[in-house]
Symmetry: none
Subunit: 225 residues, 4 copies
DNA sequence: CATGAATGAGCGTTCATTCAT
DNA sequence: TATGAATGAACGCTCATTCAT
């Protein structure tokens, strides 16, 4: 396939598009470099501001300013402040879960899959502070809607971990442990350590906490270290 | 100093107060034995409403109504809505910590002290849903002040647990574990399990989760079960 | 009964009120000259502004400014802009109807009662332009609520007139006329004449229109003029 | 001048227009025979929506949706929402007046012309509820512009009726009646009866009200019935 | 001419806080 | 001390209008 890159004024882009459509030339692939969509600019700005100030302390006007768009645009793309917030949550939640899934997929040994899940979660939350802040701290308390979304994301993560635990648990024959509870417990443990790091910078840096978390988990599951 | 005890109706209390104020007699000290103080009525009402709806979704008027006092009273006893919220947090946090301390004091064996701390925390959060809701869920995201208070309470609890872990750890010679991190991890594990229970009723009931939590902790610390 | 008029500062008024209440002296009648209540100031301002600009073109802030109170006060006394509007409508509607009723009461002869109703309605709408404007012109088109209120007021007036017509109709034996329809027709005739006067100053002045209206009505009902 | 008639799809129409614009070929005159013009679709939709919800409660977007055109089209054909509204009013007003004029033209006897005017007005308002709603109810209160338009239409109708009354009045020698006032009065009577019918369904159906209205008018003008 | 994303002024409503009684 | 009317800054949301394609 030949890729031709040409520069066109916005006006001509429209004309060419029309002509191509009229002449049924739609198989020509072209990618319009529209820079970043308005919707994306808003999402990004919302992620930034929400994670800095939380839902209630963020005024829609701040997101508008941060995204250099307009109030009208925000409400054109999202029906309400709340739905914008949830869209951001969804986006970040999916990002976190997808990363963990990908990382796990590359491992085959059960105990290594578990370790990978743990370290990836910790790393992602660490590198993308906005995810951590929104998911673990700043979003709370938003009426009925936020907790539900938070639950959704956590339960998807917990389900992931539960499967890993089941694999190991089965292999290691420890029946007195409810793997669902254990999954949530480990999620909670990781969350709290990350929260401490974010709020206090204590302990410093987070990944120093990893050996301890890893040891606790492996020991608790009778896995050889 | 002469102490005069007189019984006055609520109405007259106000009247006398007005007169005293008008006549500049404010040096007269009086203690009203109202059984339940207005301040306490407000605190109680605030605890109820805040834990149901969270900080931002609670209007001061709702606390006024719930406490059958008045707006003026709230702002006489507390300089702001925020300080009222923090007072409630303090109160509940202290209650939780005191309970754990008392429970621990009655045990001497390190591993039993740890188990007691765990079970008492879980029980208190379970029996006093308002504590759990405010501490773990509804309070978040309140600007800068709330997280600080949440940290304060958590760090006091973590310090408590750290000591217990140190005792055991020392006894058991496991040096690769940072007991501070471990303390926060266990707090997080407990919190998350409680949060799941509150939000989802999953798993049901919470105390059923205890064996799993206990097993995880003991195993992870090489304690005999 | 002895009426004592004393001037008290606002502060003392409160104290005296308290004392009187405490001592069960509530039978003493006193009228506090509080000037005009905030609520009344708001109602008055709303009447003025609404009748000048109509419901939709009036911003609550204009009523606030006109009443020299505050936005908070408006929403303390009325749950919404709409309810404030309806309160004004009620007030003016009642005023109009009460006037007509009082005027009628002073007449005994049926045809004179009818004439009195006609002339009083015309006069009131003429003298109190705000009533006319709100009732006949500026209020319309307010979703579902206003028309219902307008109907309520008109139907009360129509019922009044219907009774008058029934008295005469019976006396004069004209059965082919439905008095309810006739009542609304006469109301409509009067309204339209007033509306023309308000909008066009045509014909000028309204009361000049009275002989014509009177003649039409009397003729149409076979009354001697 | 050469007129070329070609068939183009909608899409191509836009494309050609763009090209013409880009090439400054705007002097080429073309007439698209679209059956129903976009302008007409908008007018029709506006009539429907405005008469259902009134001016202020109608958003331009609703008219766009109802007409299955676009916001751009609305603002291409009409400079503003207000002017669109007035265009609709004009259209409906003209329709009403034309009907009355045509009906009158077919009668020669003065009293029959009057009766025809009365009945045609009533019938038109009844059969075309949108006219009635916009003219008598939903349009009101639109700043300064609407009342002026409403006045214009009413005064044209009144002028029509005045002539009829003059004919009769002259014939019947009743000088004390100002025919202009009478014309407005009768218009108001009819309007109010129609309004009652629309709002309350009372009396039911409108045309049942006709004998009463007719009797009132004829009697009031000393016409034989 | 048609389209619809973008704009921003404007508005109704909330609510923490004050203060005269 | 208790009360509750009064205050006004702040905020979420709407919608008429514009303009690039």
């Amino acid at each position: 396939m030949v890729v031709v890159t040409i520069g066109l004024t916005d006006r001509l882009v429209g004309l060419v598009a029309n002509l191509m459509y009229a002449e049924n030339l739609s198989e020509i692939n072209w990618t319009m470099n529209q820079g970043i969509t308005t919707r994306d600019k808003i999402m990004e700005a919302a992620e930034t501001v929400f994670s800095q100030k939380g839902y209630y302390e963020t005024a829609v006007d701040e997101i508008v300013k941060q995204s250099s768009t307009s109030k009208g645009s925000v409400y054109f793309h999202f029906p309400s402040k709340e739905s914008l917030f949830l869209a951001v949550m969804d986006h970040l939640g999916n990002r976190l879960i997808r990363r963990v899934e990908h990382a796990i997929d590359r491992q085959s040994k059960p105990s290594e899959r578990l370790e990978t899940a743990l370290i990836t979660t910790l790393e992602t939350l660490t590198k993308h502070k906005t995810i951590a802040k929104l998911l673990l701290i700043k979003g709370y308390s938003m009426g009925e809607t936020f907790p539900r979304k938070r639950q959704e994301i956590f339960s998807r993560l917990a389900a992931l971990i539960k499967v890993l635990l089941d694999d190991i648990s089965v292999a290691k024959k420890r029946r007195e442990i409810n793997t669902e509870v254990a999954a949530y417990a480990w999620l909670g443990a990781i969350s709290e350590v990350v929260v401490q790091w974010i709020e206090n910078g204590n302990p410093h840096p987070v990944l120093e906490a990893f050996p301890t978390l890893r040891a606790l988990i492996f020991k608790s599951l009778d896995l050889e270290e």
